[in-house]
Every structure is written in structure tokens, then in C-alpha cells.
Amino acid sequence: MRDLLASLDGLRERLREIPQADERRLQELKTEILGRKAGVLTDILKALPGLAPEARKAAGGAANALKREFETAIDARERELAHAARRIPGVDLTMPGRPQWRGGLHLVTQVVDEICEIFRELGFTRVVGPEAETERYNFFALNFPRDHPALDAQDSFYLGDDVLLRTHTSPVQIRTLETYRPPVRVVIPGQVYRRDPFDPSHSPVFEQLEGLAVDEGLSFVDFKATLSAFARKFFSADTQVRFRPSFFPFTEPSAEMDVQCQICMGSGCPTCKQTGWMEILGSGMVHPAVLENCGVDSERYTGFAWGMGPHRIAMSRHGIPDIRLFFESDVRFLEQFAGLVR
């Protein structure tokens, strides 16, 4: 009995050989110790029934435990060797992987989606409208006076006496207010047209994104809260925002929203004309005349609206110097921004 326990201890020593064993040696060890016919440990286990009950219990426990240890160690070493065997000698793993063609969304699409997503979190749905509009929707319902300079035919593309390519997405504000009763909270992305020839900062066609909220009790405070929240989500949580007076026929009070220049972070640089601020959007409280033009009671309902240019925002955020790059569709340009696809 004592001999048996001593030989188990001796056998335990041999566990140390296993982690160093190569494939051949491991098989030898396995046969030598655990082999079904002549394995040392197998023999010990076979001999157990001949022992006295007391001794059988003590030795049996120790022998079975040791057997499990050997099995585990051999198993681990076998897996290790199998993994190492997958290494193919002479293969240079720094060689490039098999590629696939990549595609991607246009940067302006991505910026529009990003902005709409932020406003969705703030309770806004997404609507669209036609690109050809009447003067009523494009101007008059929006409180443009009949002789407003924006009505100069030379600034808009006309398709008929009264039909033009919309110069902003604001007509969709009117269409929405004519169709739905408040509460209205919508963002309106879309293509708009101005009669400007192409140059580095102008295009006859560009993307605009407007927003409109109309309900009982909406105030200048709600307006500031909503747009400040947008700026902090779109740029960064600590972005400084300021509102300053402006003028649009369809808002009163009107405001321009500036955010801290994202290039110099407010210290002044050529991009922000040393002001430390970037103009992001024009906005204001919806002019009561606009509500009245849509049949909405301007005493009961108030609201706010804003408009911004995703092209311009993309240009300033990504350092793109020329708006024409967005339209040229050079795949090398499109590829640069494909990585942003979520």
C-alpha cells in the first residue's frame, strides 16, 4: 500500500514532461502511462480491486485523480500542438488579405442622416416635399412681400410664370402645416436651387435641411433649448453656442446660431474670420403671418423654425475646400468618406 502511494507520487513527477513533449513523445507518454494494455497508471488501477477495502479507498481516490490530471495535461498539449501545426512554414502573413469592392453613402447623405437622427431623439419626424413649387409656397405663404429682392427672377430658376425650382425647403413647412394640426415637429431635408454659377463655395443646387416645431406654448426658450441641444450632440458636448439677431421674412424674432469654430475652438483663425465662431443656421420663432397663411391660429399656437446647409456643414467639419467636389463624383473623393457608413 505504501509502495503504491509512493509510485503514484513518482508518476506525478512525470506530469512535468508533458508540456515540453513533441507530438511523438506525447504519444509515447500517453501509451506508457495511460495505455489500455500496459499503461503504468492503468496497471495500478487494475490492481486496486485486490487491495483491502481501506487501502482501496485511499489509493483509488489518488490514482483516479492522477489519471484525470494526466488526461487534462495531455489533452491541453495535444490542442497546443494541433494549433501550432496550422502554422504554414514559409508563408508571409503580412501579405494583403483578399479584398472586396467597397461602396458608400455620399457624405452629404451621411450628414443629413446624422442631423435627422439627432432631431429624431428630440421628437422630430422626417418629411419631404416637391422640388418644383409655386411662388405661393416658395415665397408668399412664407410672408415674403411681393417686392422682396429674393423674388428677383435672376436669383431663381423659373419653369413657368408661377412655377420655380424651390429656393429653400421652407415650402414644405407650409405643406406640413396645411396638412397636419399641431403638435408639429418635423425636419425637412431636400435639394434646393439658386441661380448661382458654380464656384468653390457656390452651386446652383445644394442640400438644405429645415426644421419646424409648432404647438401651444412653444417659446424662445424651447427654441434655444432644441437648437443648443442639437449643436452639442452634433459637434461636442462642451461646444459653445450663441444666438444673435438676424432677419428672415418667415421668422420673428429671427436669430442666427453660431457655434464655436471647430478649427480653432474659439481662439480665432482665418476660417472663422478671427471671430472664433461659425455660422451654422438661420432660425427664429415662426412669424404669426406664416401660421395665419396656413390657417393656424397664431394666438393659440407658436413655434420655431430653422434652416441649415449640410454641404456647408460638411465642408467646415471635414475641411473640404470646394463644393464642386461633392458633385464631381470622383470615386477617390467618395471613397474617402465611405468609411463613415454606419
Binding site: P99, L105, L159, D215, S219, V221, A225, F247, E335, V341
Partner: protein, 798 residues
Amino acid sequence: MIVSRRWLEALLGCALDARETAERLTMQCAAVDAVLPLHQELDGVLVARVLEVRPHPNADRLSLCLVDAGGAEGPIEVVCGAPNVQAGKTYPYAPVGAVLPGGLKLERKKIRGVVSNGMLCSARELGLGLDHEGILELDTTAAPGARFLDAVPVADHQFVLDVNANRPDLLCHKGVARELAAALGAAVKLPAIPGGNPAVVPSFRPVAAAQGVVDGVEVRLEDPEGAPRYMIAVIRGMTVGKSPAWLASRLTAVGQRPINNVVDATNYILHELNQPLHAFDLARLRGPAVVVRRARPMERVVTLDGVERTMTPDMTAICDAERPTIVAGVMGSAESEVSEATTDLVLECAYFQPTRIRRTRRALELSSDSSYRFERGIDLLGMPDALRRAIELIVAVAGGAVREPPLDLWPQPEQPRTVFLRPERVAHLLGVSVARGEIERLLSSVGFVVAPKDERLAVQVPGWRPDVTREVDLIEEVARLRGYDTFPDEWRPFRPSAVPDAPVEHLLARIREQLARAGFYEARTIPLGPADGPESVEVLNPLSAEERYLRTRLLPGLVRRVEHNWSNRNRDVRLFEVGTVFRRGKGQGAMGTGAPEEQVSLAGVLTGARRPPHWTEAAKVPDMDIWDLKQHFELAVGLACQGAAMQVAADGVGWEAVGAGGEIVGRASALESDAPVWAAPLFGFEVRVGLGAPALQQYRPLPATPPVERDVALVLPAGVTAAAVSERFRRAAGPLLERLEVFDEYRGDNIPAGTRSVAWHCSFRDPARTLEQAEVDRLVAAALRVLEDELDVRRRES
């Protein structure tokens, strides 16, 4: 719009910090686009007194001056070339090391053998004017050595203001000063005119008449619609000449070139009070009369810029007894202009109807500082004050006298407008309660006259604020004068939108995402181009002939984008676009005639290698072919046009997608293009995007029984299509045929000429039981019999 810091300071009676002022104006009324320092570069220039002037030993035209520039080392020697240098007088002196405008850095150097320690400067050398005849004599009590900028008031800042279209009052210094005064708690007071005397202007009152006579000049207002108020003064016996320095420097500070004392005086009033004035020579006025009337058809006038202009009856002309002398509110004629010889002056101070001026300016393509202001609306009620000050100024700088009170024709006098304001409405709209007293104080600070009226405030609007017509305009005044930044941006409860998302936006997002995943880049092309079909919508006023039509399809624009890529040596190009296309409307659209029909379209173009090359594959990657096109067309149709069926195009080139009503909703084919020789073939597709609701996918139990597979190679006679074979095979084999796929095509030897062999892989399965092999063989045999009977298609002999 440029305003001068120094000029504002004169109106406010206090010093202004340039940066702070710019910030304040931006946040309160008009953005300051730039703050430009004026003459700061004269920092190194000093005041110096010439003690002694001696002839230069080596040059007749030069003199050698002993100059006291305040330096501890005592008087220094300066060589001077100016004829006007005199001992005892003071001049600007640029010491060695100073840098003058234009970058000239002064060095100690010998001039004709004598060392000159710096330079005495002319006005031109200092950038203060064009006068180069001599050095600039200073009228200052400053001691020698004082900084020139401290002694002579030329250092200034220009504020470049971006004035909103609704704020004409900010187009002059008084208006800008008024805003600053409101913020600073100061008052605006017009500075006294040097040498001026308000008493030279006889008192006058408006007359509700359309004609009158002043000092022998007959004035007839025949177009009171174009000129609701019209004032004329006659000044006799003045002398046209150079303006005094103070006046010239005010104008140069706002970027205006001084011309003569009369023109400069009118310009000064324009920039001080926003009142455009026109001065013309009485001697050249036939009649003498001033007639304000609509121009006659084809009436001509040669404007000051020397161009002959043809007027129309939509314009107001200022005429003498015979013909027009001024295009009202826009520009005068060369003929009637004030000249050196003018002694008697007719001075016009008018209000011209803004719309009329805008149309005239646009029609003549001629604008001026005056038209700019008339278009936006000047202060109708402030005109008499402006005329009085103009007369006082002209008499002060050019002499002369006013013998009769000016004529103020105002056929239909207007009272100041009153707008009512409910204080609780301020809180309602702004979200913050503003005390009634604060509202009154804020409005009063910029010239509104506020009086309580029942529960409301009766607010009298000053003449310089034509924009304020409604209660909400006053609320904006309260908000901006209080400061937009004083309002919190805290979240308050809101109700979610009652407006649903536009379904098309969800669909387009899905389409874009899938096409991008399929390896296409999204393009956004210009919807304007040449006509691309008979239904093209024409733009009436295009920018160019090449951009005269709206697209009816996206593909032509995408092909141009591929060609652009080729021109940049990009061979592998896969682009897609979703966008609006336009077709001539049938006149029943929501907008009536003239409105085009809009439709969202999806198009894609593909050319180049099927996949990027990889070093493990020796052979060149094949270029994309029509089968790549077909794959992507099927993807596009499936996304954009649920339920549309594919068919081979009627012309046998490419494919068409057919909608439920039999209409063709998409096409795909190889495309014509202007391709370089190294380019791969170009393919394209376009599909109309229709809003079909996609069917909801229901779960189909996953089969637990094994399939039975068979490969069948068939010989197809000429003219028999794979689609026809498949269709009959399916029909004959019945519902146990689970999949039927082409996996090979063979043409050539071992099969009859004119035929081809196509191989199908078939997979049969019964979800309820395991199929017998013999059962499947019977089904295949049945299908083969049908194919043989109907299409003469037989199994290929192996």
C-alpha cells in the same frame, strides 16, 4: 456697410473699444464681419519741429533741416526735398527704423553726400491722402517727440457691418450710435459742425401740396406715388472747392474719396443720418424748374458715369422744365452736376418709394449708395432735420446763403405709426416674464415712444424703423435689446410630433444602404443638363445652354460622372444615385399648369474589374459584364419596385422591369460613352422608385427531411431560352421540385450544330417524408418528356 469708430465716438461723446463694440453690435443688431484698424501702421511716426532750414551743399532742390524730434540726443539733421518746409513749423517725422505704409523701412543713409536721419513725410507717404506736393504741415500743440497718432486724430477702426434688410436705420452712424447708446446708457447727440451756424437755415414746415416755388425755382411733384415727400432748398452764392480736413477725413474713414465740399457735405449727411441728398447746379436748370414725374417711354439721360440710360414710365425722373436730369433716387446726370463753376445750388431731399427704386435699379442695372438706402426705406419723418443739417454744413464749408425757406411738399402727410403690445404676450412668446417697466425701458432706449393704453402698451414707432408693424416686431425688439443670451436654453415638456415620417425616406435609406453594400458609391449629380428626352422640362432662365433642362433620367448624368472619372484615370467605377427626375406635367398636378411631374428614380453605372485583384490569383480579374449588370439590376428592382417582373428587353438589348400594370419601370443595358481605350465596358440601369409596401416575411418551417439532387444537361435548339425550359420543367416536375438552377452552358463539338447544352441542378424535397430515388427519377423523366414535346429539348448524350 462701413462705420468709423471715431465717428461713432463723436456722436456718443465717449470712447469706444473696437473689439467690445464689434461684439456688442453683433449680438444686438448687426453682425460685424470685420474690424479694420486704420493708420495703426503710423505707430512709429513722431511729431517733429524744424528748427532751421539750410540749403543742401550738393543739391539745389534739397534742403538740410535741423529737426527737434524730442530725442535726448538733441536736434538731428534730416535731408528734405519738399519746397514747403519752413523753420518753426511741425511735421510728421519718420525716424530711422520706422516702417511707412507700403512697407518702406527707413534707414540712415547718405543723400547726395549728407547723412539724413529719417524723413519728414508728406500726406501720401503716410497713406493719408494723395497730396504729394509737400510735407504735411501739422496744426498741433503737441510737443516734438509726441506720437503722431496721439497728436493727430487719424487712428481709427472701420467696422464692416452686415446690416439685415429690415434695418435701414443701421445704414448710418447715427443709427448705429443709437444702438450703442441703448447698451451703454449714453445719449446720441449730433456733433457741432465746425464753423457751422444752425441759424442760417430759415424755418420751414411741410405743405400738403404738390407744387410750390422756392427762391425763383418752380417745383412740381407730379408723381407723389413715386416720391411721397419731396423737399427742395436753394443755396446761392457759394464756392465749390476742397473740403476742410475734418470733413475729408470723416469720409476717408468710411472708405469714401473726398471730391469737393458740396458733394462731400451730401455724402457726410448720407453716412451720418442715412438721408441721400442730391445737389445740382441751378444755372444749368432750365426753367428754372424741378419737375418730379414718371419718365416717358424711351426717355434718355446720360448718368454721372457717362452712360446713356433709357428710362421707362415705371421709373421716376427728376426733370427741369425740358428734360430729365436725374434718375430719381439712383443717379444724377453729368450735365446737371455741381462743378467748380457752380455758385447757386438746388438741394434735393426726397423720400422715394422703395419698390420703385428697386425696380429702377434692377432695370438699369445701376446702383448707388442712394438707391441702396431708398430701396430699404429711409426715415420719412426725419427728413427736415436732415435737410437743415445739410444746409448748415454746406454753408459752413462752401459759403453762400439760403434766402427763402426750403419747400417741403408732402401731399399726404403721415402720422407716426402706433403698434400695440400686450406685456403678457412678451412672456408667452419669449418664455420668460419680462417686467412691464423693463419692456418700456428697452423700447424707449432705441427711440420708441411708449405709453400705457388699457392693459396694453401703445408704442409709437419712430420714422427710421419701417420694419416695425406688428406686435411681434416689438417682441423681437425686447428680445434682442435684452439680449438673446439672457434667455435660458432649458428643456421644457413638449408633445411628440403628430406628423408621420415620410415613407419614401425610409425606402430611400434602405435602397442607399443596400447599393452601398453591393459596392457602389453614392453620387449626387446636378439635375440640370442638356435635354435627355422629349418630355424634358425646360428652365426659362438657365445659367447656360448646357444646363437648360431638368433631367428626366439619372443615367445620362451618371455616365458623365463616369467619363469624369475616366479623365482622372479611375478605371473601376461603380456609382449609384437616387434622386428626383422631372417630366413635363399634364397640367392636372397639384400646382396647375407649368408644374412638372416629379418622380424618384434609382440608377447605377458599373465598369471595371469585377473585384479587386489579389496576389493569390495569377490571372487578371475579369471585367464586369452583362451578368454583373443583371445581378445589380435585379437587386435594384427588388429594392425600388416591389413586385415588378424582369424580362428581356423588346429590342433584345438588356432587360426591362415591368410593373403590375404592364408599364416599363426600369431598364438595364450596356451604355454608349466617350470611353478611353483602356476603359472596361460600361453598363447601367435605372428604375423608378415606387412605394409598394413590402410583404411581411412569414416563417417557413425548416425542412427536416433530406433533399434528393439531380444534375440534368439538356440540348436546347436555337431560339429556345433557359427561362422557357425552366418554366416547363417546374410545371412538369410539380411542387416537390425545390430548386432548379443553371450551372453550366456549353457550345461546340459533340452536340448538333446550332444547339447549345445547358446544365441544370435540381433539388427535390418533400418536407413530410424522405423521397425515394425512383420517385425523383420519375419526376425528372416526366419533365423531360414535356420539354421534348413542347420545345424539342432533349437530354444531352454523354
